[in-house]
């Protein structure tokens, strides 16, 4: 049953040291504000899951929160590599991070299997791919009817999933529009789900009957954080802040610059700063 609360309460009540946590968003609606709150609360030893870890995962890994990363594409979209992740993987700074790497098809199937309550996902994939040799969680099964060899991966069942969405209504139902990515599956696969939203509306009157709505009883906590996806975007609200993605490359290239930036822009701030960060991007959407 969704309860409206502050982001700080939503994170402290749902994310714990050692958790497997997904902060999902496929380029769109990335829950930056929630991840920054998790960074401020100093959670440790997390297994971080995401198909497309980008700069907010770079930040969490650089701040030493992750024990392990499960992913299928780790990059700064349109810019390049994740420098904090590379430093962790290549040099063990600030500490080594274990990686479990998949393809998008595998992770999409694994989330869906998690949402469907299945122990594993079966799909046609990884044929001839080296990942199957370096990741012991990539296995195969024979179709019992045709004998075809299919790939199998364990389902993803996060302890907690965080997503950002456009709207909640008063009751706590959540509406996601635009590129919906893997958000619905990631919420339904998780034991607990926390959603940040741009705004709360009275009801969803006029919303298309086939819209992507998560009923209030699938969500534990909702926090209203306008701009909470920044520098990612919220379809219908504000545009992607491409400049921030570009600037991140230089910040993340240097450990001291990174540490100073995190103090100034994350540790010494709170969730209220996000609304201001997207003010100029609202017109540009």
């Amino acid at each position: 049953m969704a309860t409206f609360m502050s982001l700080a309460e939503a994170v402290s009540g749902n994310l714990f040291d050692g958790d497997t946590a997904a902060f999902e968003g496929f380029t769109h609606l990335i829950p930056h504000a929630a991840a920054h709150e998790a960074i401020r609360q100093g959670r440790r030893d997390l297994t971080l899951v995401r198909m497309t870890p980008d700069i907010v995962y770079d930040q969490m890994i650089g701040m030493g929160m992750a024990r392990k990363l499960v992913f299928s594409y780790a990059g700064n979209p349109g810019v390049g590599l994740l420098r904090r992740l590379r430093d962790a993987v290549e040099n063990g700074w600030p500490h080594p991070v274990e990686i479990e790497e998949h393809s998008h098809a595998a992770m999409a199937n694994a989330y869906e299997a998690g949402a469907a309550g299945l122990p594993c996902a079966v799909f046609r994939g990884y044929k001839g791919a080296s990942l199957a040799r370096v990741n012991p969680n990539i296995r195969s099964v024979a179709c019992p009817f045709t004998g075809e060899e299919l790939a199998a991966v364990p389902s993803i069942r996060p302890d907690v999933t965080f997503i950002h969405a456009q709207k909640a209504n008063r009751r706590g139902d959540v509406l996601i529009e635009g590129i919906i990515g893997i958000q619905k599956e990631a919420v339904l696969a998780a034991r607990r789900a926390v959603v940040t939203v741009e705004e709360v509306v009275e009801d969803f009157a006029g919303v298309h009957p086939n819209a992507c709505v998560l009923p209030h009883w699938t969500v534990k906590a909702i926090a209203v954080v306008p701009g909470g996806a920044h520098p990612s975007y919220a379809h219908g609200y504000y545009a992607r802040d491409n400049r921030s993605y570009l600037e991140w490359d230089a910040i993340a290239a240097d450990r001291e610059a990174f540490t100073a930036w995190m103090k100034q822009n994350v540790l010494d701030k709170d969730a209220d700063v996000f609304a201001g960060r997207v003010a100029a991007l609202r017109a540009a959407r």
Binding site: H28, E101, G128, S130, L131, R240
Partner: protein
Amino acid sequence: MTGFTSDEMMTIAAARALKNDDVCFVGIGAPSAACNVARLTHAPDITLIYESGTIGTAPEVLPLSIGDGELCETAVTTVSVPEMFRYWLQGGRITVGFLGAAQLDRFGNINTTVIGDYHKPKVRLPGGGGAPEIASSCGEIFVTMKQSKRGLVEKIDFFTSFGHGEGGNARERLGLRTKGPTLLITDLAIWKPDQETKEFTVTSLHPGVTREAVQETCGWQVRFAAGLAETPAPTALELDTLRALKARTAAAHGGQEVA
């Protein structure tokens, strides 16, 4: 038409390979420009699909990421990521997958994962994303990339996406029913796999390009087809379309390079 860059020739040659009735899965990187030039010239009805779930998209500018808002706003429909990979890709609905590569070998195997040992990488690259299954589930695969000895290598460090393996009928032996890489478009030439060995062979040199230039920027001993052709130079329409697209893109993204 004179006065075009080798990059422009590459994008335009790649665009020409697409047909009006293709359903094309657009990979991140260089393929995006080629696919949209095709749509804006000879293939107005082509269906472009980006892995963020946007089907039949028609962006005015090139997206910076595979999930830019304009891809969704101009799409026929936007589906979830699991639906994209299960129904549309695995379901066999895609005729062409268009991929870029960090490293490519002569048999069209692609590495975008790691340089050096996987567990002790020299350079950790972003990884495969959708590419492993794009490479196996699309009807055929086109690859486009600039030539360099670091890019076109004798042996790739990691098979992110399987092409023709060690050549011959390697795909068939793995149980793959799709064609795999059938075309490589570089800034210097057009390459097609040999029918038997599946080794990429140069079938057409771009205008003004020599065999030596192709060899100097390739890490393996290059084979040239018997009836080596010259790629037709870009037409005025092709070049104008590409340059206008790039200009609109630069204006929209503040001069950033696009993926």
